[in-house]
């Protein structure tokens, strides 16, 4: 099988210069159409392709719910903690987001009951949607609510990640809320504007190595029936309220592949692409996403310090050992994520703006440069995930056989001892992850500078403070991880 890399029709504003390359090697507009591989398109068009994994996940989710309620409350002996915070979270950061974009959203069990109720169908096409079908308020059509919900959960991270009942309370609440909201609001409004996980998946999906895009934009524009938006006899209109004809970023593409089903011209494709392509797309950028970038970067640092640092008092605060300590932790985290990091970024953005000749609005400089924090943020999370997965991954084998901590031995692995894997390599893996993130962020920063400032010399001057900022942040993470 031979597949040729090919350039797809990308609007001019998506790439600053068509010959631009990531890290000086991979062309920004290089694409490999995965749907040309025999069988891939047919598989993606089948609604069973999402139904089966979602249902399997739903079963696992039910077991996890049961475990949180009736299982042992010892975290490392309960499937709720081990599967959610060790396996799922690490899988998201290490594999699913970088290589699958929002593929998790396509098979997520949390909102699926709501979607099934809304459609009154599981795998067949329903004639019309049930529920009230309200539209989400225009003012809230951004990531601010998601940022708030995520932060609201983040301050309880010490409890959520160690107590099965807390994890299950959170998941159960998300499931109940999403089911209710599916009956009130149209399509996947909940997933797009409210899901606390969806927010960071959306931002980091812009870094992902895959994308769903029209194969030919002109053909889409000429096709007046807009089946991918409104639906057709073979598929629903985009459940994520996107316009697949004009899809430029992965942020709100939930990888449900519904547009593959609704498009009667087979004009949608799944493409492999270089990392970080969407970070260069200037349209749709906003402060809500900038703050999401700050929150995720700061959360990676805060969790690393809390969970892996040598500061016992910090752990105690996060674990709600005393209300006063927790209040300091929660307040400190909120100030770090919402004020300190944005202020730090603002100071460096201001310096870039000054050095760049003040020819562009400061707000634009601030917003645009916040996107170069995405590669470093995601790679910092990858480094953090290594530190979770490698020492604790062996719990997964034990939990498979004894999900409730009741002494079962379903698959004969209940007595697998706790076995840290490759932990001698952990500092090196974390350092390499961070350095890759740093280099990629530098590359994106330079491209963003050239996109933002009118001339190359101005961009070269403006990027200097960003290099200092990225170096400082990388140094801080290196100190946290391996210092």
């Amino acid at each position: 099988m031979s597949l040729e890399a090919r350039a797809v029709d990308i609007p001019a504003e998506q790439t600053p210069e068509r010959q631009e390359r990531f890290l000086g090697v991979v062309p920004v507009d290089a694409r490999l159409e995965l749907t040309r591989i025999p069988g891939v398109r047919a598989t993606l068009r089948s609604r069973w392709m999402t139904f089966i994994p979602t249902t399997v996940n739903l079963f696992l989710f039910l077991v996890i719910l049961m475990a949180g309620v009736v299982g042992t409350q010892v975290g490392n002996a309960n499937i709720a903690i081990v599967f959610i915070w060790i396996l799922w979270w690490s899988a998201l950061m290490l594999l699913l987001v970088p290589f699958g974009s929002r593929i998790w959203c396509g098979v997520c069990p949390l909102p699926i009951m709501g979607e099934w109720l809304q459609r009154s169908a599981l795998v067949r096409l329903a004639a019309k949607a049930r529920g009230l079908g309200w539209k989400w308020p225009k003012r809230l059509r951004n990531m601010w609510v998601v940022n708030g919900v995520f932060l609201g959960l983040a301050v309880f991270s010490g409890i959520l990640t160690t107590r099965p009942w807390a994890t299950v309370l959170m998941l159960g609440t998300i499931m109940a809320a999403s089911t209710g909201l599916f009956l009130l609001y149209e399509r996947r409004t909940f997933c797009r504007y409210l899901c606390p996980v969806g927010g960071f998946l959306g931002l980091y999906a812009n870094f992902a190595a895959v994308e769903v895009r029209p194969k030919s934009v002109p053909e889409c524009l000429a096709h007046k029936s807009k089946e991918c938006i409104l639906g057709s006899a073979s598929g629903y209109g985009c459940p994520w309220l996107e316009q697949p004809t004009n899809l430029k970023r992965n942020t709100y593409c939930g990888m449900c592949f519904e547009c593959f089903r609704s498009c009667t011209r087979d004009n949608m494709g799944l493409f492999l692409r270089p990392f970080g392509t969407d970070l260069l797309v200037e349209s749709h950028r906003g402060l809500d996403e900038s703050w999401k970038a700050f929150i995720m970067l700061g959360a990676a640092a805060a969790y690393s310090a809390t969970m892996m640092g040598p500061w016992g008092w910090l752990k105690d605060w996060a674990n709600l050992r005393s209300l006063g300590g927790w209040a300091v932790f929660a307040g400190g985290l909120a100030v770090l994520l919402l004020v300190v990091l944005p202020a730090l970024h603002g100071a460096f953005a201001w310096a870039s703006w000054r050095l760049g000749g003040r020819a562009v609005p400061l707000r634009r400089v601030f917003t645009n440069f916040s996107y170069h924090l995405v590669p470093l943020g995601l790679l910092a999370w990858i480094g953090f995930s290594f530190a979770i997965l490698l020492p604790n991954g062996s719990y997964v084998l034990r939990i498979l056989s004894d999900p409730f901590g009741w002494g079962w031995n379903l698959f004969g692995t209940a007595h697998v001892p706790w076995t840290p894997v490759l932990t001698a390599w952990l500092p090196a893996l974390q350092a390499v992850s961070l350095l890759f993130g740093f280099v990629y962020s530098l590359d994106i920063a330079w491209k963003l500078a050239r996109q933002t400032f009118p001339s190359s010399p101005a961009a070269a001057r403006a990027v200097i403070p960003q290099i200092v900022l990225l170096a400082g942040l990388t140094g801080a993470f290196l100190w946290l991880f391996v210092g």
Binding site: L58, V74, W116, G405, W406, G407
Partner: protein, 174 residues
Amino acid sequence: MVVKVLERLAGSGLGKLARFVGEVAGRAARSWKRVHISERIAIGIVALTLLAGPAAVIGYGRWVERNVITVRAVQWAYLPKTIYATEGVQVRLRIISEDVVHGFAIDGLPVKIVELIPGKAEDVAFTPQAAGTYYYQCTTYCGVRHGKMFGQIIVRPKRQALTSPPQETSLQTR
């Protein structure tokens, strides 16, 4: 007589309810016939996931835990606090710590677990040869009320076990 009772029932609220339920069931049956075969399969899979899945998990748990008494150790008590057993009949205990490291030993019986690691089940089996009350206690310091952490196994003579059923957790003669 029967006809009269049926007529009265049909006229009552109960009869109306029965007719309503019948109508709904009839409609559901007619709708089900119109449902495409792929949708029926999907509905079956979801029903299995939602009902049979958890039921199988619970059923399996009951099956593997038959003839085993689970004792949970928490600061600072064992649950259950009293276990009933029968002289000459094997007792199988599964002891699980739910919080910190505890210990477990039965005075007068050859059972001792030095470290009960939280979340790690420890199985022990023994056969009490003489009737009486045996005390079990925590043998690893586990906090300020460590000394209060104990329970008892009441072993009854075989004859008594057959005539008076125990009030709490027990093992039956096999």
